[in-house]
Symmetry: C2
Subunit: 202 residues, 2 copies
């Protein structure tokens, strides 16, 4: 709200700093996809982004500082805006998640998991990224499911996309994705019917 | 079937060679879990396993040779023997898959995906490992599902376990795993009822 320093020259400096940081962080995610987490060092990042090592170290003294800011950028990924049609909303949101996989999101998420195992201080960043990534699926499903069933279907739908991308080499085909959503919603409806049946003593 | 060479001394040599290879390959998988794929080099592997670099290079001239043999060991992982009770069989098999996650299988599978992206010649090994890993789930589900629905539920059940381990830090809780299986089977039954309904004109 209240910017530090003078208005004129500092604005220019700020803009340049922001551009530098954006350049380096997007390069970091690209290197992560291409070479993996361990191979993405400050030195290689400086070289690939075209900045000095001193600049990279100045902005991010440690690798955790760097990864924290780089992964926080994932929170800007596009999401579907729910329309109220559960099937259509899930399809649209999972299609966007699948498109992300085709652009390396599967490797970025696997690297996030790897980095978090090695550096537990990254756990909060991972949780924020995952919460943000799942929020549309959870919001849409919460109109038909709750409790462990909501958790189960969220993990199954998001999980099937990531798992298929990582271990089958591509996200699920359209007909498989449609079948996943259909079966999950049929299961939800059948579960509700059964609970209703239990309630009425049938 | 017909061993090469003489029976006596060569058997001893063979046993030693097998032990050496087993030592080094299991160390390779351990380093993979601890340090990631990129950091697991022939030199570090030799050091960690207590053999010379020459020995490691003699058995596996390239990293792909090494990873091919190391990941092929995953095909020896234990699986549940189906009893014919679909729910119980799925629960038991997914519980074993979840136990694997607690022992680093999530990181090993993420590394397999990473290595396969970098070295497409690993694709056959990845496919064999995945086919073997999923075979019990597919076999059990094939009694109640087929086509895209079978594929969808296989990806959802296996995917929810891996996804949760990688991005929530642990495989799904028991109640979530139970809900996943229940919803998938309710969905399958509801889908079958609906198809049956279609067939009979209802």
């Amino acid at each position: 709200m209240t910017p530090d320093g003078d208005a004129g020259p500092d604005r220019t400096v700020d803009a340049r700093v922001i551009r530098t940081r954006n350049d380096i962080l997007s390069t970091a995610l690209r290197l992560l996809v291409e070479n993996g987490a361990e191979a993405t060092t400050h030195a290689q990042l400086a070289h690939a982004a075209g900045y000095s090592r001193a600049t990279v170290y100045k902005h991010w003294p440690t690798r955790v500082d760097l990864w924290r800011d780089a992964f926080t950028r994932l929170r800007r990924l596009p999401h579907h805006t729910p329309s109220g049609d559960v099937r259509r909303d899930l399809r649209a949101e999972l299609a966007m998640f699948s498109t992300g996989m085709d652009r390396g999101l599967d490797r970025i998420l696997a690297a996030l998991a790897e980095i978090t195992t090695a550096s537990p201080e990254m756990q909060q960043v991972r949780d924020e990224v995952v919460t943000d990534g799942e929020h549309v699926v959870r919001e849409v499903l919460s109109s038909v499911l709750q409790g462990p069933e909501l958790e189960a279907v969220t993990l199954m739908l998001c999980g099937s996309v990531l798992y298929s991308a990582l271990l089958h080499g591509a996200p699920p085909d359209d007909d498989v994705l449609t079948a996943s959503i259909e079966l999950a919603l049929l299961g939800a409806a059948a579960g509700t019917d059964r609970h209703d049946g239990d309630d009425s003593g049938v």
